[in-house]
C-alpha cells in the first residue's frame, strides 16, 4: 500500500469517530469552505453547508487532507468570488515559525534543489550550486521553533486584549497543526473593517511606521509636570512597551550587544559605563531624547531594535486578506497528521502542541525511515533515524509518513 492511501485510510477512520467534535464557524451558512482531497492535488472550493452536521458528514465521507473555511461572510458563498457578496470578515492572525529566525532550523530543516539535486540544511535562499530557487523543503516542528511561535502569539494576544480591548471570549487561540498559531477575533465591530483599516491594525502589531518622535513631544497632549508619580515604565500602549523594552535591553546589554547594532566600540563602552545613569533617566522620562552619553544615532538603533523585539511577527498577508481561507478547527493537518486545536487564552503558557494536537492514539505500525531528526510527541522521544525499519506508535508513524521521510513496510 502506498503512503497516501494509508494516510487517507487513517484519516477516514479518525473522522469516522471524531467528526462530531468539529465545531463549525459561526453563521455557517454564510461561509465558504475549501478542501484539499488526497491524491487530487487541487483545492475543492466554493463549498457551503446549511448546518454543522452537513459539514461533519462531508468530512466523514471525504476525509480531506486539509479543511478550510473563510474568515469572510458572504451572501452566497457557493458562487464565484465576484458574485459572492462580501458581507464582512472576522479578524485573523497567523504566526508561523517559518517566518521566525531560529538557529535550530540549521539543524533540523533540510532542502534539496529541484534543478540540480544539491542538498543542504536550514532555509535556503538560492541554490549555491546552480542558482535555482526551486526547492523541495523538509521543515521540522521542534520545541524551540514552536516556542518561538508561541512567544510571538503571546505578544499578539496581549496587544489584542489590552490595547484593542477584545475580551477573552472574543479571542480564540489555536495551534495550526504544523508549526504555528492562529488567533481568531470574532467581534461585530471589526467585521466590516475594510482592507485599509486591517492594514493599520497589522502596522500597529508589527510596529510598522512607528515614529518615536511623537512619543517625546507634546503631540496630541501636553505633558503633566514631571513631579508626577507615574513612572515612564508604567506608561500605556506602544509608548509604555518601548520604555520597558528599552530599559530591559539596556539593563542586560553588553558592549558586544551594542556593537552588534552598529554602535562604535568607544561609544558602546561609554554607554555601558554610564548604564545606571541612563536607566534612571529613562525610568523618569522615557528613552525619547538623546543625551550626552547617548547620541541621536545610537538611540535610534537601540529603539529600532526594541521595536523589532517587542512587535509580534504575524503574517501580514493573512490579516489584510479579506477573503482568506483558514484551517478548520479540530480538523487534521495533511502535512503532519496533527489536529488544529483551539484553547482558551488563559491556557497559552502551559499549552503543549506536541501533546494536545496528537490525533492518532491507537496502535502501532512498522515503517522504513529514510531520515529523521530527533522529535518528541507527547511524552515520548523518537529518532534520530537513518535508513532503518522501526515500529512506532501510530501518531509518530503517520507524522513521518506525512512528512514523506518514510514508507510503509510489508
Amino acid at each position: 500500500m502506498d503512503n497516501q492511501t494509508f494516510i487517507q485510510q487513517k484519516f477516514l477512520e479518525f473522522y469516522e469517530e471524531s467528526a462530531s467534535k468539529i465545531e463549525g464557524p459561526s453563521s455557517i451558512r454564510q461561509r465558504e469552505f475549501g478542501f484539499m482531497i488526497f491524491k487530487e492535488n487541487m483545492m475543492v472550493r466554493h463549498k457551503s453547508f446549511d448546518t454543522v452536521d452537513a459539514l461533519r458528514t462531508f468530512i466523514k465521507e471525504n476525509a480531506p487532507a486539509h479543511a478550510y473555511h473563510s474568515t469572510a461572510y458572504y451572501e452566497t458563498p457557493e458562487v464565484k468570488m465576484e458574485d459572492k457578496g462580501w458581507l464582512g470578515a472576522d479578524l485573523y492572525f497567523d504566526i508561523d515559525a517559518d517566518h521566525i529566525a531560529t538557529k535550530c532550523k540549521e539543524i533540523h530543516d533540510s532542502w534539496t534543489c529541484k534543478d540540480c539535486g544539491f542538498a543542504g540544511k536550514g532555509q535556503p535562499d538560492i541554490c549555491p550550486a546552480c542558482g535555482s530557487k526551486r526547492f523541495d523543503q523538509r521543515i521540522w516542528p521542534c520545541d524551540i521553533c514552536l516556542n518561538s511561535a508561541k512567544k510571538e502569539t503571546i505578544k499578539l494576544v496581549e496587544m489584542l486584549m489590552e490595547e484593542f480591548g477584545f475580551s477573552s471570549s472574543e479571542v480564540t487561540v489555536s495551534f495550526s497543526g504544523h508549526r504555528g498559531y492562529h488567533v481568531h477575533v470574532t467581534n461585530e465591530a471589526v467585521r466590516e473593517l475594510d482592507a485599509g483599516a486591517r492594514k493599520e491594525i497589522v502596522d500597529y502589531i508589527t510596529g510598522t511606521g512607528l515614529n518615536a518622535s511623537f512619543f517625546s513631544s507634546a503631540v496630541g497632549a501636553f505633558r503633566l509636570s514631571s513631579k508626577t508619580s507615574v513612572s515612564a515604565l508604567d506608561d500605556v500602549g506602544w509608548r509604555g512597551r518601548m520604555v520597558r523594552g528599552a530599559y530591559d535591553f539596556l539593563s542586560s546589554a553588553t558592549i558586544q550587544n551594542l556593537m552588534d547594532l552598529g554602535i562604535k566600540e568607544k561609544r558602546a563602552n561609554e554607554i555601558i559605563l554610564n548604564k545606571q545613569a541612563i536607566l534612571n533617566n529613562w525610568k523618569r522620562e522615557g528613552p525619547w531624547r538623546p543625551m550626552r552619553m547617548m547620541g541621536k544615532e545610537e538611540l535610534r538603533v537601540i529603539l529600532d531594535r526594541v521595536i523589532e523585539v517587542q512587535s509580534a511577527k504575524i503574517d501580514t498577508m493573512v490579516t489584510t486578506d479579506i477573503h482568506r481561507l483558514i484551517r478548520l478547527p479540530n480538523s487534521l493537518h495533511g502535512k503532519t497528521g496533527w489536529l488544529k486545536v483551539c484553547f482558551p487564552v488563559s491556557h497559552i503558557d502551559s499549552f503543549d502542541p506536541l501533546k494536545s494536537a496528537v490525533a492518532f492514539k491507537k496502535g502501532t505500525v512498522t515503517i522504513y525511515v529514510e531520515e529523521s531528526p530527533k522529535f518528541r510527541l507527547g511524552d515520548e522521544w523518537f529518532g534520530e533515524y537513518e535508513g532503518q525499519k522501526v515500529e512506532l506508535p501510530m501518531a509518530a508513524a503517520i507524522f513521518l509518513l506525512c512528512k514523506d521521510v518514510a514508507r510503509l513496510v510489508g
Binding site: F164, Y204, L224, V230, A232
Partner: protein, 345 residues
Amino acid sequence: MALTRIELAKYPFVLDAAEEVKRLDLDISNLENPNLKTIVDRAINRIEEALATDPPRVSFRPGDEDKEIPSFPVAIILASATNNDYIKRRYALAEAVRAYDLLQFEDEKRIVEIVKVFNWKIRIHKQPVGNRRYGFALFFTHFLRNAEVFHEDEWKLVNRTMVNGEVFLNKREVARLIQEEVRRRIEKRFSVNVRQMLPEAILQRVDNLSKKYADRIDQSRYTAFPKEVINEAFPPCIQIFYGSAKTGTHISHLGRFTLTSFLININMKSEDIVNLFRASADFNERMTRYQVEHISGDRGSRTKYKSPTCETLKTHALCPGPDELCRTIRSPLRYYAKKTRMLKR
C-alpha cells in the same frame, strides 16, 4: 441637551436633510418664491464664498439663524445643480473647514452632543492617560474609518495612544475628524438629477455662478502616461521586481502583482509583460498570460487593477527604502508620472 438655534446655524449638518426640508417647508420646485429670496441669496453666497476663498471656507453669520439654517440644504441643492465636480468638492470642503474652525471654541460636552448624529462611540476623558492629557476617547474602529484618508504619520494607529479599544484624542484632532466626516456627508448628499426640478430663474443663477468660476477647472491629478515604457523612470521597488523577473529570480506574490499591475498601467503590452517572466524557472505561459489579462481587466471580474500603494508595500516589507522622489509621492505609479515628466525636460 439638544442643540440651540445658534448651534444649528453653526453646525447645520446635524439636521437630517429630509426632515429639514419638511420642517422648513422648502419645496425645491418653488424656490422662486419671493419669501425664500434671502435664503436662496445666502445659499448662493455660501457657494461663492467657497469658491472665492483660499483655503476654502464658508463664513458664519451670527444673528440670522432663520436665514442661515435653511440656506445650508439649499446650497447643497444648488451646488449639485452646477453638475461641476470641482465646485461640489470645494463647497463640501469649505463647509467642513468652517465646522472645524468653529468647533475649536466649543466645550467638550457640546462637541460630544454635536457628534451624536454621526453615531461615533466617543466620550469625554479628561483624566491623564499614562502621563498625558487628551480630552476624548474614540472607539478604534471609528477612528480607523475616519483617519484612513489622512496620510500623515501622526494619524497612524501605531502612533496613537490606544487602551481597551479606545484611541485618545485632543480637541483639535477630534475637530479634524469631524471635518472629514462633514465633508464626506455633504458629498454624499449631492444628487444627480436635481437640475430638472429647479425653476428656470434659479438655474440661471446657478449657471452664472458656474460661468464666473469656469477657469478653475480641476486639474486632473492623473496626467496620461507616455505611450512607450521608460525604464529610467521606474521607482526603486519596481526596478528590483523588474530586475528579478528578468533574471528569473523568485518574487513574492505581492511583488509580482505590483510589477504586473504597474506595467499594465504604464501601457506596456501584455505580450511584453508575459515575456518578462519567461526567465523564471516555474514559468507557465498559459498561467502568466491568464494572470496578466486578469489584472488588465480583459477577463474575469473585468476590473482593471490599480497598483498597490507605497503604504501597502511597506506593510509587507517590500519597499526597498525611499529615494528623494519617493518622499513626494504615495504610489509607484505617481513616482513614474513625476519622473517621466522630469526626464522630458
